[in-house]
Structures are given as C-alpha cells and as structure tokens.
C-alpha cells in the first residue's frame, strides 16, 4: 500500500479520473443534523435536564428537612408517644417550623411526583396507560400540595 495520497494517485484506475481538483472543488455537504437558519426552532425545552437537576438539589435539602423531622417526631422527647394536637399547635406557633414544614411538603411532593413520573415512563408501555397514570399522579399531587399548604396557613389552635 502506498502512503502517497497527495495527488490524483489516490484515485484508483477503477474510479477513473476525478471530477474535482484544487481549482474545481467538490460541493460542500452540510454535517448531518446541523442547525442552520432554515432549521425550524426546536419545540423541546430543557425540561428533562431541569427535572434531573431539581431531583439532586431538592434531595440535598430534603435530607436535612426530613431527618430533622424524623428526629423531632420519632426520637426526641419520648418519640411518637408525645405527638398530638397540642404538640402540633406548639410547633406551628412558630413561623420557623411553619416554613420548615411548608418547604418540606412542597419539595417532597414535587421530588416524589417527578420520581413516580419516571417510574411510569419506564414501565407503562402503552401511551394511553401513561397518559392516565400521569393524569392521576398530577391530580393527586396538586390536591395534596394545596391541601397541606392550606392546613399549614389556616391552622387554628383554638378550633375548640
């Protein structure tokens, strides 16, 4: 095999004479899928990347919020035995714990809903099944987030 490819020698006898040379170059062919002025704007956003990032950022915050919540409710001061209406009233008297619980509610629900969305996308093979399962998931998620938010904001220690 000759390593001389600098001239028309590279063209074998079978191919015949090249149509192109330095003065008459071959037409330029665009790289496949290259975006040009004529390409329609992408209809896809960066939703999946944002969801991926959200899982990691909310996850770090939730580790602190949820493990703190478990310590307070299940470990400290006699564990679950002290939990009751009076205990809830005592904690939600402080804006700090209201914000803690509100943030935990929103982040955990959205983190869990996005996780279950991934699970549905993975295992529900028919498009219709995916549609209905995700419809159910989003309905339940919105309902639960709104209910929880309402409870935290409208809590009344003197309900009786």
């Amino acid at each position: 095999m000759s390593s001389d490819t600098s001239s028309a020698q590279a063209i074998g006898s079978v191919e015949g004479v090249s149509l192109y040379d330095a003065d008459n170059p071959a037409p330029y062919i665009e790289a496949p899928r290259k975006r040009t002025g004529k390409t329609p704007r992408s209809t896809r956003g960066n939703f999946e990347m944002a969801a991926w990032l959200f899982m990691r950022l909310s996850g770090i915050v939730l580790v602190v919020l949820v493990i703190g919540h478990l310590l307070i409710q299940l470990v400290l001061d006699g564990g679950v035995s002290k939990v009751g209406f009076a205990f809830v009233a005592g904690r939600w008297a402080s804006p700090f714990w209201q914000v803690w619980d509100l943030l935990m509610l929103w982040l955990a629900m959205l983190h869990g809903a996005n996780g279950l969305r991934t699970v549905i996308n993975d295992y529900a093979e028919r498009a219709n099944t995916r549609l209905w399962l995700k419809g159910l998931l989003y309905t339940a998620t919105v309902f639960t987030i709104l209910l929880g938010t309402l409870v935290i904001f409208t809590f009344d220690p003197n309900i009786r």
Partner: protein, 126 residues
C-alpha cells in the same frame, strides 16, 4: 445471567432497584401523612384519634420500616449526587455504596430504642 458485566446483577443495579422501591414507598406514605395531618383542621379529637393508631405496636413496626426506607433513600441519594458531580464519584461508587450500607446499619441500630421502645412498653409493660 450474563457473567462479567459491570452493571447487571451487581452493586450499581441493586442500589438502583432499592432506591426506586424505597422512593415509591415513601411517596405513598407521604400522601397518607398529609391527609392524616389535615385532620387538625377538623378537630383535635379527630387528629388525636388517628395519631393514636401511630402509637400501636404494629404501626410502630411500620414506622421503623419507614425510617429504614427514608435513611437508605437519603444516604444513597447523596451517593448518586457524588457519582454525578464528583469527578472521582463513578470510580468509587462501590465503596460509597458499602459506606451507605454501613452508616445505614448503624443508624438503624440506633433507631431501635427510640422508635420501637414505646411499642415494647405497650406490649410487655414498664
């Protein structure tokens, strides 16, 4: 089962399975938990009644399982973040998984008395 694969049947796959299973369980509990807490808007008695079931021995055992699921999901989630963002994360993913399992066992041993102590006293007296 094909032998010699990096992922199938090994630490990477099983930690993924466990992360998924614990995540779904925690999410379903979260729905129930927001609903039971919403009873504080009904009446103190309604809330205290449902919380009383959380103090029974059988539900205490379920709570211990919930703590187990949450702690694994939290620790393995931090491992996933390290694999994604730390340049040496993928290389040490196995060592990090065994660290997760080790810390999880220690924390679960520490949670036995606080979470199940009340149920023990209900069942066997003071």
């Amino acid at each position: 089962m094909p032998a010699g694969t990096l992922y199938r049947g090994r630490e990477g796959m099983w930690s993924w399975v466990a992360h998924r299973v614990t995540g779904v369980l925690i999410f379903f509990f979260l729905f129930v938990h927001v609903l039971d807490t919403a009873l504080v808007r009904v009446s103190p008695e309604a809330y205290d009644d449902v919380v009383a079931t959380y103090k029974t021995p059988i539900v205490a055992l379920l709570e211990y399982g919930l703590v187990a699921a949450i702690l694994f999901h939290a620790l393995n989630g931090l491992r996933v973040i390290a694999v994604d963002f730390w340049s040496k994360g993928p290389r040490y993913q196995k060592q990090m998984l065994w660290s997760v399992v080790g810390i999880w066992i220690v924390l679960m041993a520490g949670a036995v008395y606080p979470v199940l102590g009340h149920a023990y006293r209900v069942l066997f007296g003071e």
